[in-house]
């Protein structure tokens, strides 16, 4: 399985994402610059965190119109796994691949620390390696992670089990219903504010994020490799 890490001007978690996939997960991975016009040959798409285009106008608003995003949308429609972390999540929201929008953190402060998440749905291609309701520790680092959507959208997220991760005990940013990560209806696009790529090795404080990447690979192998 081969992953693409999309790099925008201002991305700053791209190297962590690359490292997580290459060295900890042990899969093929390549950086793909934002003005590339093809994602042929990639089986999974990763949108890393950072401050694409300096967060000008709104987080993710300008990145959403880059050339490569047309290909990301095509890949999502084709059912390929697409993971957006932090700024990557914000870009997926702006692109309309996921419902809702981000507001400034309730505290107005940039927060950067490990948080506890609850696995609300372990029946997705991103979360099948976790136990249902398992509490995991993954770091957050953002100033705009205060997820919002209207009541109709929230009801539909709940009804379709699209809420994959919620903040456990403490909600760091004021997000609606403690939402930390959601998928699209089809379940192949996940956006999350916490950084699983920063939690892939006990040496740096925890490896709870690694299972997320392993889940994607397991799903892919089961559907693409004979006798897997």
């Amino acid at each position: 399985m081969k992953f693409a890490v999309i790099v925008f001007p201002g991305s700053n978690c791209d190297i962590d994402m690359y490292h997580a996939v290459k060295d900890e997960l042990g899969c093929d991975v390549e950086y793909v610059w934002h003005d590339e016009k093809s994602l042929d040959g990639f089986d999974g798409i990763l949108l890393p965190g950072g401050f694409s285009y300096g967060d000008y106008l709104r987080s993710g608003a300008i990145a959403r119109f880059s050339h490569v995003m047309k290909e990301v949308i095509k890949a999502a429609e084709a059912g390929k796994p697409v993971l957006g972390v932090c700024n990557g999540f914000q870009i997926l929201l702006e692109a309309g691949l996921l419902p809702g929008a981000m507001r400034r953190n309730e505290s107005l402060k940039f927060i950067c620390r490990p948080v506890q998440l609850k696995v609300e749905n372990n029946q997705t291609m991103f979360s099948q390696g976790y136990e249902q309701d398992e509490v995991i520790t993954i770091p957050v680092a953002h100033g705009e992670g205060n997820y919002y959507c209207d009541e109709v959208t929230l009801a539909s997220l709940k009804e379709n089990n699209q809420i994959v991760f919620t903040y456990h005990d403490v909600n760091p940013n004021g997000s609606l219903s403690n939402i930390a990560g959601i998928t699209n209806k089809a379940g192949n696009v996940l956006g999350m504010m916490p950084h699983p790529e920063r939690a892939v090795d006990e040496l740096i404080g925890g490896a709870d994020g690694l299972k997320l990447f392993q889940s994607i690979v397991k799903q892919w192998r089961e559907s693409h490799v004979v006798n897997a």
């Binding site: 106008l57 300008i62 702006e94």
Partner: protein
């Protein structure tokens, strides 16, 4: 040539944490008559005349990029600029 002023604000139904912080600060300065503060963005666009009506073009730009209509409202004023 048109000069267009675009105002983008958070929707009434969406909490504005920045506006709230400013309101509290104003209250602490004894401006107790302030009941609400909403912070938004102001954009000035210069737009050449084209075949499409300028209102239609501006509205489309607001919907697609300048505002996120999930959480933001927008309004705009259009002025025809006199050639210098």
């Amino acid at each position: 040539m048109y000069k267009v002023k675009v105002f983008v604000t958070l929707r009434e139904s969406v909490l504005d944490p920045q506006g709230n912080a400013v309101k509290h600060s104003l209250h602490s300065m004894n401006y107790n008559e302030v009941s609400d503060v909403r912070i938004g963005k102001y954009l000035e666009l210069s737009i050449e005349k084209s075949e499409r009506p300028v209102e239609e073009v501006v509205k489309e730009m607001c919907e697609r990029l300048l505002a996120n209509v999930v959480i933001e409202d927008y309004r705009f004023e259009i002025e025809e600029a006199v050639a210098q």
